[in-house]
Amino acid sequence: MKAVSKILIVEDDPHIVHFLRSALQAAHYSIDVADSIAQALERCADYRPALVVLDLGLPDGDGKTFLKTLRSFSDIPVLILSARNSEDEIVGCLDIGADDYCVKPVGVPELLARVRVALRHASVMQQRDNVIQVDDLVIDLFQRRVSLGQQELHLTPKEYDLLALLAQANGKVVTHRRLLSAVWGAEFVDHTHYLRIYMGNLRAKIEQNPASPRFVVTEPGVGYRLLIE
């Protein structure tokens, strides 16, 4: 039998803790709770969670401080839980090592999906797949080939790089900044229009209906995500 994954909830609002705890326990995770950054860091060292669910509004500091300290000694995946309209903060946290995010209020199905992706990503870190398959879309990272159904797709090098980056993220969101600096170079991080145009071309090739994407979804103001589930 698979070992139960331990999740640390860092949140100071008792009602949200109540909801998160019951939702995650019902999905058979083991739960611990910290209500401040200091306590959270302590619990990370002692309790060794498989995942941290981090609320950004904490009484003794912001999420970035916590993330920076945590990343100095551990690469436990971190799922950000944030209020609406705080894209800048979310992107800031993703750029310094958070794994993914959910916007409050979050429904249970979405929360569980994000938790699964983050946990899977942690296990994939150890044994990386060279071939990633989503429905009938197959991305072969080793041979740099992409096929849809039986059909091999002809992507330009940049389109392929974008798709490969999303595939390697394994369902996690990838920020605009990361995509731009990885594909075009660090000096292009503000040229979001490059991204829009190439992403449009990529979607036209891999999606049947680009306006209702099955594979690559837009996270407005944050980045893109390849839907794995």
Binding site: N85, E87, D88, H191, I197, G200, A211, S212
Partner: protein, 502 residues
């Protein structure tokens, strides 16, 4: 006074003129009488008074008088005069030529003054025009001081004077110059509201001018002008300076008036929003809350008596009502943000409209699984420079509005097209009742299509759409569709300054 060679120039010129003319006339004597020659000399004097200074012209007149006597009056080549008639002629010549010189001098001064006055008026007009275009106090002061400094070839310093506070230099056209301002003079000028310095009648011993500028009732500013040449301190220049400072004061006064008017308008607008928010909080928030509380307490206290189906539907009700309230809260927040911050509220970036509508569609399909959506999107839409979340919110509002008011359950149609290469237009079509009221009134906050309607939600949706479209430089359109129902569109401008993609 030291001797200056330059001051002798008029003498040389007049001597030269008269000598040359006399030599020519001497050759011509066999054919010309004395009166004709006298006229010739008069012409020469006229020419000299146009070309030379007053003294040069006067000297020319006197030399001509002597030359006429010496060369042409009998006995010739002497300064003697044989006949009384010739003496009278000579004296007449002298009187006419001197009168001519002084009349010419007066004319010259007048035309110079007129020209100068015209130039000064033009400078003042140009300054006024320039200042009225500026929208900020510092710019007006800077530009005004610079214009004055360049008109007088002078150093200009603006000093702010406040009661019970030290005077401070606000602007200095010679930024590297040393601190020369006399605080006492500045205070006196600010207090008495009078100009001081040469020709003003106050503190005439000063070597600069100090002029008051009316700023506002609470603070005063004075302008110090240090001319590079002492002969700039004339009465007419003082009037010119006062004209220019008057323009600066006027521009500032207009700016303050406009600002306070704007503040008052914003205040009124804010109050309107505030009142409307209170009104709708008391009605539109209470209704869904009542449903939520009712459903939750029913689940808690009557659970044993409820069937699984009933429990499920009560839970669904709680969820959907809460989500609707969240959307309303989001709308209120966005509206307040856009109306108070304007363009500053935008997190704008290059966006693909197809992507954004895709996000809207996936949300709508989750939330309204019983409805069908149809998207008709132009191929090759340009990217637009917008705030992605606000645009998603606008389209979401339009779609929800449609779903709310078109209960026939027909397909919700969304079309994205370009219009004249200037705008991208997103249109959401419904098959509802259309609009009968004044469209503008529909857009006013919290007014709903049907009064006392039992339909859910705020009338806020369209207002926020309009505000978001406007803050992006676009607009919102509502028209009754030819086939019935309403076409709600937003137009967003296409920017043509996108850098090429490499």
């Amino acid at each position: 006074m030291p001797f200056k060679f330059k001051s002798l120039t008029p003498l040389f010129y007049s001597l030269g003129f008269v000598t040359v003319a006399s030599l020519i006339f001497d050759v011509l004597t066999p054919w010309l009488d004395v009166p004709i020659l006298a006229m010739g000399y008069l012409l020469l004097v006229l020419f000299a008074s146009m070309r030379l200074s007053y003294w040069g012209a006067l000297l020319t007149a006197i030399f001509s008088f002597i030359a006429l006597n010496f060369f042409f009056i009998e006995p010739r080549y002497t300064l003697q005069v044989a006949r009384l008639q010739s003496l009278l002629e000579l004296l007449g010549f002298l009187a006419v030529s001197i009168t001519m010189v002084s009349i010419m001098e007066r004319l010259k001064t007048q035309s110079l003054t007129a020209k100068q006055a015209q130039m000064q008026a033009e400078a003042a007009r140009q300054l006024a025009e320039k200042l009225l275009r500026l929208r900020c106090e510092d710019e007006i002061l800077d530009q005004g001081a610079q214009a004055i400094a360049s008109a007088f070839f002078a150093r200009v310093i603006l000093v702010s004077v406040r009661a019970k506070a030290p005077t401070s230099v606000v602007y200095d056209t010679d930024a590297a110059g040393n601190d020369v301002v006399d605080a006492g003079a500045a205070r006196w000028v600010a207090e008495h509201h009078l100009a001081i310095g040469p020709t003003t009648g106050y503190w005439p011993q000063l070597y600069y001018w100090c002029i008051p500028l009316q700023i506002s009732s609470t603070s005063q500013m004075v302008l110090f002008l240090y001319a590079s040449q002492t002969d700039s301190y004339t009465k007419s220049n003082l009037a010119f300076l006062q004209g220019l400072t008057g323009q600066v004061s006027l521009a500032l006064g207009l700016l303050y008036a406009k600002q306070s008017e704007q503040v008052a308008m914003q205040q009124a607008e804010r109050e309107n929003i505030h009142n409307a928010l209170l009104a709708s909080l008391s009605h539109d928030f209470r209704t869904p809350l009542t449903t939520i509380v009712g459903a939750a307490s029913s689940l808690r206290h009557q659970q044993s008596g409820l069937s699984m189906m009933q429990q499920e539907s009560l839970c669904g009700l709680i969820e959907s009502e809460a989500i609707a309230m969240l959307d309303d809260a989001e709308n209120i927040l966005s509206l307040t943000r856009v109306e108070t911050l304007g363009r500053l509220a935008l997190h704008a970036d290059w966006q693909s409209l197809e992507e954004l509508i895709g996000v809207v569609l996936s949300r709508c399909r989750q939330r309204y699984s019983h409805r069908l959506f149809d998207l008709n999107c132009d191929r090759s839409l340009p990217l637009i420079f917008v705030d992605p979340k606000l645009i998603i919110q606008v389209v979401m509002n339009l779609v929800e509005n449609t779903i709310k008011f078109d209960t026939s359950g027909s397909v919700v149609k969304i079309a994205v097209t370009t219009r004249d290469d200037d705008y991208v237009m997103v249109t959401v079509q419904d098959r509802g009742v259309g609009i009968s009221q004044d469209v503008a009134q529909l857009m006013t906050k919290f007014v709903r299509g049907q009064p006392e309607s039992r339909q859910p939600g705020f009338g806020l949706g369209l207002t926020i759409c309009d505000a978001i479209a406007k803050v992006h430089g676009g607009q919102m359109l509502l028209e009754n569709a030819a086939e019935g129902g309403l076409n709600a569109s937003i137009l967003l401008p296409i920017r043509h300054d996108q850098e090429p993609v490499s």
